[in-house]
């Protein structure tokens, strides 16, 4: 059993067998060692394929079986070469092409870098060129192991490298070492002092000694956490080495927020009329095309579209701009009480969202009132907020 590709390269013929018993012919041929495939039976003949080199044995089989054999078609590489031999110029061209392709494929045509995040790709490519890996370099002259060793020695950031030559492409894959972290700088001894007054609500100390306790009233500048650690020794406190104090101190404070909203407002009400304005764009200049429509009330540009002339990917430096203007009237509108309350509540929420992280609202009372020309929302707010700041000795 031979593959179709092998049959093509060795050449085969399609023969037609006519006679009383083509089965006899096939049996004779097979017994002499001929491989036959693709037998097709027709009413007056049978067609089959046999290898080119076995053609000489057919005559004997045909005589013994009483069949007539005729070669119908010739297929495969030997017949193709026989035909091409007559076309000398084409054969030479083919030979030159194959040679040219073979020569060109022995050079590197592309160098790719993978995995370079911190090291610039240009640096890697220029160093690769020094190691002999550059577009145009001969593949056989490249020693990838030696080049990889040079890379490791030259770039401290590279922890692993692989240089792979795949056909006419050189692929440099690198893995960069992790960045060295600088050791944390020990800061100078300090205290945590109050940056505003209040009543201490919560205190968390991670370094130093607490100087206040919950419920104490403190004023701006008071020490909250001392940077001098105190250790109890025999009923007394021994002073330790000064350290930078760290921790969080929360104090209760009461604030009053007053928000006002005028009862009337100006608003644009579009009339529904609009017009298009056209502008011609030339290199460095723009010309508005004259409009013959009567000028009306104030307007606003509600749409703009610019189109430059282009041919394929190339754009010419001139084109058209179309702007749509919509006319409006300024009207005085009055807020209802509900609208005003909603707006003021939203403004209050927006203000509260700006509070520092960790700040807790302990109590909140609001009072909505109305004056002759505005609405007023007065809010009393009690919060527990961080008041500590670091201060060096």
């Amino acid at each position: 059993m031979q593959s179709g590709l092998w049959n093509y390269f060795s050449g085969y013929v399609i023969i037609s067998v006519k006679g009383f018993s083509w089965e006899k012919f096939v049996n004779k041929a097979v017994s002499t060692g001929i491989n036959i495939w693709d037998i097709k039976c027709f009413a007056d003949r049978t067609e089959m394929k046999i290898p080119l080199k076995e053609c000489g044995k057919l005559r004997d089989c045909a005589l013994k079986s009483g069949c007539r054999v005729k070669i119908l078609e010739e297929h495969g590489a030997p017949f193709l070469f026989r035909r091409l031999r007559k076309k000398g110029f084409f054969m030479w061209g083919l030979l030159v092409f194959v040679t040219f392709l073979f020569i060109l494929s022995s050079f590197i045509w592309e160098v790719r870098v993978k995995g370079a995040l911190r090291i610039p790709e240009e640096d890697i490519l220029s160093f690769a060129a020094e190691c002999g890996i550059f577009p145009g370099a001969g593949r056989k002259n490249i020693d990838t192991d030696e080049a990889a060793r040079k890379f490791i020695l030259n770039f401290e950031e590279i922890s692993w490298i692989s240089i792979d030559i795949q056909g006419t492409r050189a692929e440099i894959s690198i893995a960069e070492a992790l960045e060295e972290k600088e050791p944390p700088v020990r800061s100078a001894p300090s205290n945590i002092v109050a940056d505003s007054s209040g009543v201490i609500d919560r205190i968390y100390v991670s370094s130093g000694t607490p100087a206040v306790s919950e419920g104490d009233t403190v004023f701006e500048g008071d020490i909250l956490i001392s940077g001098i650690p105190l250790t109890p020794v025999d009923g007394e406190f021994a002073r330790g080495e000064p350290v930078p104090a760290a921790g969080k101190v929360f104090a209760r404070n009461t604030y009053s927020i007053t928000l006002t909203l005028p009862k009337t407002r100006w608003e644009k009400v579009f009339t529904g009329k609009s017009r298009n304005l056209y502008t011609l764009i030339l290199p460095g200049k723009e010309f508005s095309l004259p409009s013959f429509a009567k000028e009306e009330k104030p307007f606003e540009i509600t749409g703009s579209k610019e189109k430059s002339l282009s041919f394929g990917d190339y754009s010419f430096p001139f084109g058209f701009k179309k702007e749509t203007i919509s006319f409006y009237e300024e009207k005085t509108l009055v807020y209802t009480e509900n609208e005003a309350e909603n707006i003021l509540n939203n403004r209050l929420l927006y203000k509260l969202s700006g509070l520092d992280a960790g700040t807790k609202i302990l109590n909140l009372t609001s009072d909505f009132s109305e004056t002759p020309d505005s609405f007023v929302l007065k809010t009393e707010l009690t919060v527990s907020e961080s008041i500590g700041k670091e201060e060096n000795f």
């Binding site: 059993m1 089965e23 096939v26 049996n27 097979v30 017994s31 060692g33 036959i36 495939w37 097709k40």
Partner: protein, 88 residues
Amino acid sequence: MPRIKKTITEALSLPKEVMFGLPYLTLTGKEEILIENHKGIIWADCSLMKIKSSCGIINITGKCLSIREISPGSIRVSGNIEKLEFLI
């Protein structure tokens, strides 16, 4: 003598198709049949194939039958196989 050969073959688990030259049939679905150790074609057309073997004639009936390949050792028949029988 053949009895001794059969006993030895069974005792040593030797392949019978090698020892006795029996046909070895490989059927792929109902589309293709490979017959090894055949002894030639007796009749072949689109609906019937008669193939000689050491244990009689193998009769293949079906539609669009054709011989894909034939060599001294094997024959491959493809098509829509409907019936396979041995005529002794």
